[in-house]
Symmetry: C2
Subunit: 189 residues, 2 copies
DNA sequence: GTCTATAACACGATAGAC
DNA sequence: GTCTATCGTGTTATAGAC
């Protein structure tokens, strides 16, 4: 394990603050106070506020894209792949709740990396949609609008960061299983 | 129909901008430019930036709470009530997509009205949860964790503002029906 | 009702001492 | 590596002319 650098600490603290108020509403003075230092001292570790946002978002987006490609390239059934995607979101969100808030809510404040982020997100959603469409073709999944299905699933998965912190009791496996059940089987008895 | 005042126009334009960048990142100069005037002129119609946010969010939150109480006080089945809640979200979001973005993402920037907003939201979620619990007791709904069910449904409903603008083709009724189907019946064939 | 001008302050970031 | 001091700019909001 590599030890956590001061830069990592700053990024982690920043993500927590961004989660509460959003990137734009958090000042470098806020961040410095939370770190127990003065704002000017932050710049010995990071080059700009923008760099912090980039570090938080791009690493997560790359992790999602990479894992999605692994899941998709297996020969599991479409429903299995969807369950794996659900487990992926639960795992990443459990490990980095604050970062997921920034990924969801502050991506539009990326400057240099905005186009790259959008490319990754688009790629992710394209694969997701393909999996659903293949499931429909294979008669595993109901013949409903694939985009509506994806929207519904992704909405829930992208909101996990709001909810996981309130439910520490549940472990990641149980949660992934419950969600697979609800999202795939429905709630009607 | 009451004619749209200049103040209404400003609030509507502000909501659009808040949707794109968030409350904190939108300046009064941005808003003025979008309105075709200078920032100082805005203050002839509104008293502060904060007032604009309050108008957007509180009116929507009150509309949700009021409608939720009507739905809950009927003697419909729990599943029927859930379908009505879904239709409610689709209707309100269709009529005010931008406002829904602020309701979801900028409520924490409310100042004087924050406690009131939280009270309304809490009340809404309590009723929602009761309906699900009653449905489980009545064996209409699967015996899964009620909070997980609510979380999953609410995540989708609260994300509608992101998705409805891209799908103008679908009308509100069709969308509400599709979503009821997916969220209640599941996607497994 | 819109404008120009500006007050009063907060912002991100840098310079240079220690 | 952290500090104090500060630069240059952007921020909400007001004053007062038209």
């Amino acid at each position: 394990m590599k030890p956590e650098t001061r830069k990592d600490e700053i990024i982690k603290t920043a993500a927590k603050l961004f989660k509460e108020k959003g990137y734009s509403a958090v000042t470098m003075r806020d961040l410095a106070t939370a770190m127990g230092m003065k704002a000017a001292s932050l710049y010995n570790h990071i080059s700009s506020k923008q760099e912090i946002l980039k570090e938080i978002i791009i690493s997560l987006a790359e992790e999602f894209t990479q894992s999605m490609e692994v899941i998709n390239s297996s020969n599991a059934s479409s429903l299995d792949k969807l369950s794996q995607i659900i487990a992926l979101h639960v795992k990443i969100t459990t490990n980095n709740t604050s970062g997921m808030a920034s990924l969801n809510n502050d991506w539009m404040h990326l400057e240099d990396q905005l186009a790259y982020y959008l490319k990754l997100r688009n790629n992710y959603e394209t694969i997701f949609l393909n999996i659903i469409e293949e499931g429909i073709s294979a008669s595993e999944i109901k013949n409903l609008n694939p985009e509506t299905i994806m929207f519904s699933m992704l909405s829930t998965l992208r909101s996990l960061y709001l909810w996981i912190p309130k439910k520490e009791a549940l472990n990641a496996n149980d949660l992934a299983n419950s969600l697979s059940n609800i999202l795939i089987q429905g709630i009607n008895k």
